[in-house]
Amino acid sequence: METDSLVLHLEGFEGPLDLLLELARTQKVDLAKISILALVEQFLAVIEGARRVRLELAADWLVMAAWLTWLKSRLLVPQLGEPEEAEVAVETLAARLVELQAMRQAAAWLGRRPQLGWDAFTRGEPEDFTETDRSKLRVEMAGLLGAYLAARRRGGARQQYRPRPMVYFSVQNALERLGRLLGSLPDWSSLEQYLPKGLEDGVPRRAAIAATLIAGLEMAKDGRLNLRQEERFGPILLGPRSMECETRDE
């Protein structure tokens, strides 16, 4: 029964120093004047009692017990080692107990202070008069120029690898388009009427005319349509195959 309560007692402490301080306080004297030897003996007695019921005592308790055992031996038989060694150890232990005691008092002093949220309350619903104005822009010339260069580099780099892939109307496109439109337009319509809508002037348009002409020639070779040109540089006309006219190209 006694050992059980001893264990529980030990677990109530925040480590060995806590227990030492409690033991020191029970001596009811000035911490500087307490008998360290008596303190050590009390501590070791408690640890011994605890170990009897529970061997797996936490390491820091055992380290403290070992150190105190050493200290006790030096105090009892000073000639075992340097006498100053034990004196320094006693002073260190006393100083640590004093410091812990002081911090205990500080915690208690803080605990006695009126605390926010318990003894005093601040405004529950503060008002914020800060307005954020995000309407303005932060831009600089350097940024604009940097952006321009970046855009040109990227655009230029792209052009190197894929030179206008979709711009030109290919022969393949023209074959498909002619095949689809043939018959839907009046006989002998001009080649230009078979061009797709929305072509840009210049190279794209000329490319489309060339592609459609090549496609027309290809289809005429297969006998699927006839081509006709009345005069040099005149309009090229396309007609269905049934017409008697012979293909004439320039």
Binding site: F121, T122, R123, G124, E125, E127, F129, T130, E131, T132, D133, R134, K136, L137, R138, V139, E140, M141, G143, L144, L145, A147, Y148, L149, A150, A151, R152, R153, R154, G155, G156, A157, R158, Q159, Q160, P163, K197, G198, L199, E200, D201, V203
Partner: protein, 189 residues
Amino acid sequence: MSETLTEAMRLAEAVIFAAAQPVTPRVLASLMPPDADADEVMAALVALYAPRGVNLVQVAGGWQFRTAPDVAPALRKVVELPRRLPRVAMESLAIIAYHQPVTRGEIEEIRGAALSQNTLDLLLENGLVTPKGRKESPGRPTLWGTTPAFLAQFGLKDLRDMPRREELLIDPAGPVISAPAAAEDEAAP
């Protein structure tokens, strides 16, 4: 003023001050001494705070302290947090500045990437670009140019204050120089 009234006023002002929400008459009543007249207490408090920098007001079914309306403007602090333009917008703006008047398709071609409506809207909202007529080509696409606000934003007197393109694009290693001459001609300002 009776002692009961004074004490009831102190309690009421403290709880209204500390509460995170408007304090309902029910909560107030539960705190006050049984012999206190809640209406009298609140009327006295309202009168007490009326000339002060903080007033006691009734809102949303409860009581609350609010900063006096005439003091509030003095407390107002405006923090300017200017926005930066996203990179895409900045690039598009630079292209419009250098190549204006320019169509959306041309911007896309120069950047080598699509130009989203959002980006164009952002530039329009900030008054940096404006339509400058339509190009006489299939589809008659809108031509874009910069505005006086653009000049003001970048601290320019006029567009000629911008570094010339030739000064910028001198990087011999860069692919910009090797861009097709046709495209360069077409887009020249």
